[in-house]
């Protein structure tokens, strides 16, 4: 039962903020990008950016596990 690091949790919070809580800021049609309404475009961007956030969180957790001498 090892708690995840604060930094990893913070990184995971970013997609939640961008794709969920902030909906009233980006739920609009204009400006359109690549022919898509803004809300759809925004979500597609954040699908990709979420994997970037989690990739960084992954590195942090792996580094932490090594420092702990292999973990739990």
């Amino acid at each position: 039962m090892r708690k995840p690091s604060g930094r990893a949790l913070l990184l995971a919070g970013i997609p939640f903020l961008a794709m969920c809580f902030s909906v009233s800021l980006w739920d609009r049609i204009y400006p359109m990008f690549f022919g898509m309404p803004f809300n759809l475009f925004w979500l597609l961007c954040w699908i990709m950016l979420s994997t970037v956030c989690m990739r960084v969180a992954y590195r942090i957790e792996i580094a932490r596990e090594k420092n702990d001498g292999g973990g739990a």
Partner: protein, 482 residues
Amino acid sequence: MSPSGVSMTTIVAIVAVGATIGILAGARRKMDLEQWTVGGRGFGAVLMYLLMAGEVYTTFAFLGASGWAYSRGGPTLYIMAYLTLAYVMSFFILPEIWETGRRHGMQTQSDFFSHRYGNKYLAGLVCIVGIASFIPYLQLQLTGLGIIVSVASFDGIGRTPAMVISMALLAAFVFASGVRAVAWVSVLKDILMVFAAVAIGVGIPYMYFGGIGPMFAALARAHPAHLTMPGATPNLGHTWYISTVLLTSLGFYMWPHTFGSAFTAKSADTLRRNAVVMPIYTLTLAFILFAGFTAVMVVPGLSNGDLALLIIVRKSFPPWFLGVVGGAGALTAMVPASIFILTAATLFAKNLYRPVFAPSMTDDQVAKLARVMVVVIGAVSLCLAIYTSTTLVSLLLVGYAGVTQFFPGVILGLYWRRVTASAVLAGLIAGVATSVFLMLSHRDPFFGWSAGFVALCLNFIITILLSLRTRDSPPLEERLRG
């Protein structure tokens, strides 16, 4: 050959190849309980990815997402958000579950509750709620399969025969090869599905409007309100969006089968890596939405929005392609249905039947009973799918509201030593009762909030408050040592 003959032949060929792959997947391995339910805990990154993608892209993604884009508009975007956020959550949940599972030899979600809380009533309730939530989900897959095959074959294959035949095939491959069959059939399913989704999502807007951009521009001119929330609905606004995205993304890995899939991984690291790359697969859903939005203007006025995607494909593409969509669609129903049946059968045999009726059963006997249950559960759900009917998404949300109530028990059980069995039990009962009451009395959304989310908040409050006031006996530390 007639158009109907061409598409029927294609569908039958694809489904036959899929079933053969499934039956052969477990050949040359001895299928004991461990091998059958969790693949001997040996799935590497690729098989794991395929199993999880196979579980996610169900007929709901295929028909439900496009159906919502067609009939409700903007609110359908919640699907892309919740899937991505569910993977983000899985980064913190699945590796821990895997660790605990490996240490104590767990195979099911109910095993987890039974070990963590040492309370047989809680483990039993989790098992029953899990199986009960599966029933609408399973029925939804079968109903969806019937629709896909009958529309794609120009009504050459009726809904009922399609459901009966595919249920027989999937029961056969689950019976023979267990979870390995599910992962390997997913390979074929995913290849066909991605091909079909891209072809449909790019092709259909191009045929009618000359591209995706002009299609959206035309839709924004004709129905400006359709593309944002609440779209064509009276009450699916931003509050609903936030609460539903939270409910479904937290609930996603609380389904007994998604939870259980964590046990199949070779290592905790496999699961973490998976959580990082899985969201990318969600991008393919955008293509399905493009088709749904195009259908708003090309085939307006359908009474059942779930049919929008298939109707527009049938109108626009040659019969062989319709057959590919039909075949991929059938597998899209069969893969998730097979993992549901596998999980429900194991839960029944291992966590309900053995503890209550036959504590002396060996694992081999449990495995035998589970395999018999595959056939029984298959037959029951088939009857339900044939004799009752409802639209797809509403059924799914009832199941979600049910399983999400496991969330406090799982997350607090993993990360908070203080949480007690009686508190989780009380919270779970309150949560399930509240969501069932609100949904059955048509109070969903409840003042703009998703009913399951309201119930989850209540559940969390009860679990935390009661945990602070009660103690487990014997305490967790003693049980873990003993």
